[in-house]
């Protein structure tokens, strides 16, 4: 057998597949991350996820195999030849199998558990127990309708069952009034818990009862609370009818807003699809620790401007914001042509982005931006120390002013389309409920951040003698989730002066509750670390440590959850769940403050590719996450989880900066 082809044939046969595979690897790297993203949405084709080097090898072997096969068609004699063929086939198949396993293992951490299309799974109705199902089969909704006339509602939303003849519900067997009492749906008898269970045993089929105090279903056989949307609907229709409404009731506001198309996910996709730069090339080695991610550059302190530097660092790495500016979202030429005055904060921010992502690591002085910002916020123009949060708001305002005028003011829903609002703007819902009649007036306010009070919980484990078991150590520590709970808690409004209730036509006690109607792409949480003492007429900074999570699910703070919980344990969906926007967020920047109200220093911690970096004006170092956790947070920036992971992928594909060796922080003038 003769395998010795003329050398030119051999080179052609081997060079062709190699070149093809190399060419393909260059072209597919660009779409790698996009493919990753689309995979996470609906997984299909596994072959695209073979790592680049293995892909090339696989193709190479495939062509080698083809080559041998072509050749073997003519000369099939030799056994050794057959063995070599088999061996090569074996190699190819093992490569394919290992790739397959790699895909399986790799895809697990990458696959996103967010159920993007079907919404929040925790509020889908739980399956009814067998007994509830049987009850419904035999009695349908008649029992619920019968119960409706016994329902009594108290504002702001508590429903109970009350028989008109008896003021005090008593157990029919033991006359007891202690504990929970249950109203049997079949025989309308009221019993305490023990006798309810006995009742089920003695009377066949009397399984389903209603908790009198709460108007909630209870299955006596399963000994557990059960849920039925029809029951909740029956209770809620009675309740909602009972609560008086104004002319434009809550429903109309809700309907109007539900009909609006969701802003977030549409814009997010659009910004994400914009390629960062056309001349990106793929990187084989993604874990190059010696190289800092692109865009990380120190900012010189131009005279107490750490407040500005800290917020700028956070903005530089807010994924949608960054993508917009790096993809020429704000065109400098058009901007100058369009407006008479040269003042445009967005242009200067564009300049900062260009400087930061240029690859140059020497600390940059954002002097032009500072000057422009001074022009914009004349009242803050000084060398005094300023508040970072104030600066953040004024910058967003400055961007909006310029862009809001030039662009189409109202997009699809009447929301502003300027980049500041597209990225940071969310919607807060505020409900004020009259304590007397239950009338609720709802307002929706847009916001670019959420300012939270510290939850200094008054739950101190002081009196040890009285409490045999000390609660968990965390009870006295403030947490971010605790602050959010405090923010969305029902707050009794002061009685001086009382608010005017439209329905009662009088001044009444009322209760206010905040919730988040629509989440932004980037959520900025600001902690109000100052307290004002009206007695001493002084303000003081609160240095209390606040624990904050790196990942957060905002579902419990959405309007749908808060309004739902107001009425007890219900499955009834209020004004549509905001199911199409993801509620999972990842932190990417923390602005910390050290010092007092009058004088202090801001430092930003950035999280890029799951590594934390400390940005202290011109000095940037890698730090451990423990240091970040222990820091005193002032503003925290969370981005939607999907955008965070996409941003990480993008960073991985960026070329290594030319100054590749260890990062040398160069102290700037201070």
């Amino acid at each position: 057998m003769n395998l010795h082809l003329p050398p030119c044939f051999q080179t052609v046969f081997l060079a062709l597949p190699l070149s093809l595979s190399l060419f393909r690897s260059v072209n597919t790297s660009q779409s790698y991350s996009e493919v990753q993203l689309s995979k996470n949405l609906q997984s299909t084709n596994p072959s695209l996820f073979i790592p680049q080097n293995l892909q090339i090898q696989y193709q190479f072997l495939f062509f080698v195999r083809l080559f041998f096969f072509n050749y073997s068609v003519e000369k099939i004699e030799s056994l050794s030849f057959a063995i070599t063929q088999l061996f090569i086939s074996f190699l190819i198949s093992t490569f394919f199998l290992t790739n397959f396993f790699l895909i399986c293992n790799k895809s697990k951490p990458l696959s996103i558990s967010i159920n993007m299309t079907t919404g929040n799974p925790s509020y889908t109705s739980p399956k009814p127990c067998k007994h509830l199902a049987d009850y419904k089969l035999s009695h349908g909704l008649s029992g619920y309708k019968y119960l409706q006339k016994y329902l009594k509602t108290t504002p702001p939303g508590r429903t109970s069952v009350e028989k008109p003849d008896t003021k005090i519900p008593r157990c029919i067997s033991c006359d007891g009034i202690q504990g929970r009492l249950y109203f049997c749906l079949i025989c309308s008898s009221v019993s305490c818990l023990d006798h309810t269970l006995l009742h089920t045993q003695s009377e066949n089929g009397h399984d389903v009862a209603v908790d009198i105090e709460r108007a909630e279903l209870y299955c006596c056989v399963c000994c557990d609370q059960v849920y039925d949307p029809d029951f909740d609907r029956a209770v809620m229709s009675k309740q909602i009818m009972g609560i008086p409404r104004g002319k434009n009731g809550d429903e109309s506001i809700g309907e109007r807003l539900v009909k609006r198309r969701r802003l977030g996910s549409g814009v997010g996709q659009e910004l994400v699809d914009l390629k960062i730069s056309k001349h990106l090339i793929s990187l084989r080695d993604r874990r190059a620790k010696s190289c800092y991610p692109l865009g990380l550059r120190g900012l010189n302190n131009l005279g107490s401007t750490c407040f500005m530097n800290s917020v700028l660092q956070a903005l530089l790495h807010a994924p949608p914001f960054r993508n917009y500016f790096l993809s020429e979202g704000h065109n400098h030429e058009n901007c100058r042509k369009r407006s008479v005055d040269r003042l445009c904060l967005a242009c200067d921010i564009d300049g900062i982005f260009s400087a930061a992502f240029s690859g140059d690591r020497a600390p940059y002085s954002p002097a032009q931006f500072l000057y422009s910002w001074w022009q914009h916020s004349a009242n803050l123009a000084s060398y005094e120390q300023q508040d970072a949060h104030e600066f953040f708001i004024s910058v967003l305002d400055g961007i909006h002013e310029k862009e809001g005028k030039s662009r189409n003011q109202s997009g699809d829903n009447g929301d502003c389309q300027c980049i500041a609002h597209r990225v940071f703007s969310g919607l807060l819902r505020s409900d004020v409920t009259c304590m007397t009649c239950g009338f609720t007036s709802t307002t929706f306010d847009p916001c670019v951040d959420v300012s939270l009070d510290l939850d200094t919980s008054n739950f101190p484990p002081t009196n040890i003698a009285n409490k045999p078991t000390k609660p968990d150590g965390n009870s006295s520590m403030s947490t971010l989730l605790g602050c959010l709970d405090l923010f969305t808690r029902q707050e009794k409004l002061g009685s001086d002066p009382k608010l005017y209730c439209r329905n009662c036509q009088e001044r009444r006690d009322s209760v206010k509750q905040m919730s988040i109607k629509r989440l932004p792409l980037v959520l900025c949480l600001h902690i109000k670390r100052f307290e004002h003492s009206p007695v001493r007429r002084t303000s003081r900074k609160i240095d209390r440590y606040l624990h904050f999570p790196f990942s957060m699910d905002m579902t419990p703070y959405l309007s749908s959850s808060i309004v739902r919980n107001r009425f007890g344990n219900r499955i009834f969906a209020f004004e549509g769940d905001e199911s199409d926007i993801s509620t999972e967020f990842e932190i990417f920047a923390v602005v910390t403050h050290a010092g007092t109200l009058e004088s202090g220093h801001y430092v930003t911690y950035l999280r890029l590719r799951n590594q934390w970096y400390k940005c202290d004006d011109a000095w940037i170092n890698e730090v451990d996450e423990a240091i970040v956790r222990a820091s005193q947070c002032y503003m925290m920036f969370y981005v939607q989880k999907m955008l965070y992971h996409k941003a990480n992928e993008d960073l991985s594909c960026l070329p290594i900066s030319p100054l590749r060796d260890t990062f040398i922080p160069i102290p700037g003038c201070c």
Binding site: G143, I168, I172, I186, S202, N458, F459, T469
Partner: protein
């Protein structure tokens, strides 16, 4: 659906006559009838939320459910779990306030 057909057995006449309402029961009945109990319940709910007790109990329940698994927990389990801890951890200030209110009520009800 009417109460006529499936009524539980009528309690014996002898039993009810022997039971004397205790002082606690009398007070309780007076409370409910006048509506004071409902007002005090609302006040108590408000105070317990303010001081963070409700969040504590919620956290306890969450931890328990996480440990046991969502489908293996009943409401009764949770009630039995948090009743002793809950009762023990109510702050004294709240107890004092409520006792004061009850005392005032009793004086006014002239028992």
């Amino acid at each position: 659906m009417r109460a006529s057909v499936n009524r539980p057995p009528t309690p014996d006449v002898g039993d009810t006559q022997e039971k004397q309402p205790t002082l606690e029961e009398i007070i309780n009945i007076k409370f409910i009838e006048s509506g004071e109990k409902e007002r005090l319940m609302e006040l108590l709910r408000e105070r317990l939320i303010e001081c963070g007790w409700k969040d504590e109990m919620k956290a306890l329940c969450r931890a328990f459910v996480k440990k046991k698994g969502r489908n293996n927990v009943t409401v009764d389990d949770l009630v039995h779990l948090i009743t002793p801890k809950g009762r023990a951890s109510i702050p004294d200030s709240i107890k004092a306030e409520l006792l004061q209110r009850i005392r005032t009520f009793l004086v006014s009800a002239a028992l």
